[in-house]
Amino acid sequence: MPPTYTAASFGAARRAWGADSTSTRTSAHDTAAAGKPEAKLPPANPVPEPLPYLLDFYPQEDAAFTQISPFFDALKEGRFVTSYCKNCDKLHFPPRIACDACTIEELEWREISKKGRIYAFTAMMLGAPMGMEQDVPFPIAVVEVEGTPFKILARIDDARFEDLKIGQAVELKVHRLADGRVFYRYRLPTA
């Protein structure tokens, strides 16, 4: 389902936020360099999902738009899959429509583990892109996906930066957007 953004709703949300609060003429660097008290963070972004297409990070998932819609369809059902080339015995991430090693197009969808371990982690504390400002601060980690060669970037939900450590086990969490799209995140194991 494509986003149902309208300019009117977006404009209203921006006005409610107050354009002035983001129209800064001094940077955090300048304020800090001058020894002034630091500028207050802008208020949490009230702009509702979805954002206009060219400000929206989440991929379009519909089969009418992309050939990797099975990736998202599986994720909606709680399965983590990616493309696999039998010819090269090569797993790809992110999923592809042609093998980068042999160019073969007859790829399979292969299920991969929803378990992982934190390889590195940080948190977004300032400068979040639009659509993510309301969540600041939020942890971000590089996760080693069990049974694959991949270390992938993902948000860690339901945890604080202070709760995390390198090597910690995490499990996949399906993040659902208001418009029905999905994306992968991780969380600390629930069991």
Binding site: H29, Y119, A120, T122, L126, G127, G131, I140, L153, I166
Partner: protein, 397 residues
């Protein structure tokens, strides 16, 4: 392969004031262009046959595509050989000069103007932050919040974890480069920032704090590129390209070569050294891409100035300072100068020319500099670009 060695020269430079500027994208272009033409009062603009515009995201930051002809219009030139924009995110400026060098070396162009421009301070900074984040894999890393500070924070944490690098060592990089930019009138930041201030500045993405990060900057810089044979028509002291190297590995973060060794930096720098016929320590100074303090520490290692993992100790021991073993970022680096994406690579080359011409204030003059390197990384440090420069076309082996 001798490649470009000794064939191409930069003969003049122009620079706008950098910072949060009361200037639009096209005005920044005019400022740097004007300064370049002032430096060459006898240049007939009709002789400028080619134009290369380094610009990372004019569509996002200035809502403008097809920027090269607009710049030609603003600067009063009518390119008749090559006209193009180059885009390689944070290395877009160096890309412009690399492209010009190739055109000049083949004879396609005789006199090429290269200008890097970025306007990053926008009425809506949230849009600017969003735009910067689409430099990484927008669809598959973007939803995780993969803008530059978190990426380099993760890199820093791993480097600390694997090699024992400390936040104090990273703060020294910021302190050094802010000190160097105190004598650079074009810099966004011209006041010293001591280590203690770096360490106590607000957290952006742990372990990176505000002064571990380069600024968000409006700015432009320009250079004139011509053949080594014609350089003398323009100046007594040019900067000659002696070596060139570039490498890209991986797009999405899952496919990086490594989180703590920038393999493309190793490949690009060794390629450039080999073409120039030099070793790392033949260089008299380096303008490296310190977009974050951790970047410069990893660059000490991967550009070949110290052993892997010893980058933190390298600055702690006082090596990358002006007057010491290998001055790194005498211009002030990205940390001191600010980082208008497409302009940075050209500003570094301005510094090389002015150092060779002894035109920089004495506080940051590298005495007797004969050989220098400019280095840029771009994106998730998955691309590295290096150019080795000489005071003479025949310096080196």
């Amino acid at each position: 392969m001798s490649g470009l060695k000794g064939k191409v020269a930069v003969v003049a430079a122009g620079h706008s004031r950098w910072g949060i500027r009361n200037a639009t994208w096209r005005e920044l272009a005019q400022e740097a262009g004007r300064e370049l033409f002032k430096a060459l009062p006898n240049l007939d603009r009709k002789d400028v046959d080619s134009l290369f515009v380094g610009a990372a995201e004019p569509e996002r930051f200035a809502f403008q595509s097809h920027v090269a002809p607009l710049v030609a219009d603003m600067l009063g030139i009518k390119p008749s050989r090559v006209v193009q924009r180059t885009e390689l995110a944070c290395a877009s400026g160096q890309s412009a000069v690399r492209s010009a060098a190739m055109a000049v070396a083949t004879g396609l162009s005789e006199v090429a103007l290269c200008i890097g421009i970025e306007k990053m301070n926008l009425p809506n900074m949230a849009e600017a932050q969003t735009s910067m984040a689409c430099v990484l894999d927008r669809e598959f890393d973007g939803p995780a919040g993969a803008s530059a500070p978190p990426f380099f924070a993760l890199t820093a944490q791993r480097h600390m974890h694997e090699y024992g690098t400390t936040e104090e060592q990273m703060a020294l990089v910021s302190e050094k480069n802010h000190q160097n930019s105190t004598s650079n009138p074009y810099a966004q930041f011209q006041k010293p920032v001591p280590k203690s201030k770096v360490l106590s500045s607000r957290m952006i993405a742990p372990p990176l704090k505000l002064f571990d990060c380069s600024g968000i900057t409006d700015g432009a810089a320009a250079v004139l590129v011509t053949s080594a044979e014609r350089a003398k028509e323009f100046t007594d002291q040019a900067a000659y390209i002696l070596g060139s190297g570039q490498s890209a590995i991986g797009g999405n973060l899952a496919n990086l070569a490594s989180w703590t060794t920038w393999e493309p930096a190793v490949i690009a720098s060794r390629g450039a050294y080999k073409m120039a016929g030099i070793e790392p320590y033949d260089l008299d100074f380096v303008e490296s891409h310190d977009c974050f303090s951790i970047s410069e520490i990893i660059e000490y290692e991967d550009l070949g100035f110290c052993k892997k993992g010893e980058g933190g100790k390298f600055i702690e021991d006082g090596n990358p300072y002006i007057g010491a073993k290998i001055p790194v970022n005498p211009r002030g680096g990205l940390l001191g100068m600010g980082h208008p994406l497409g302009a940075t690579g050209i500003s570094q080359i301005c510094e090389v020319l002015w150092q060779f011409q002894s035109k920089v204030p004495k506080q940051r003059q590298v005495a007797g500099a004969e050989l220098a390197m400019t280095h840029n990384l771009s994106g998730a440090a998955n691309v590295h670009s290096c150019l080795v420069w000489g005071r003479s076309p025949s310096v080196g082996g």
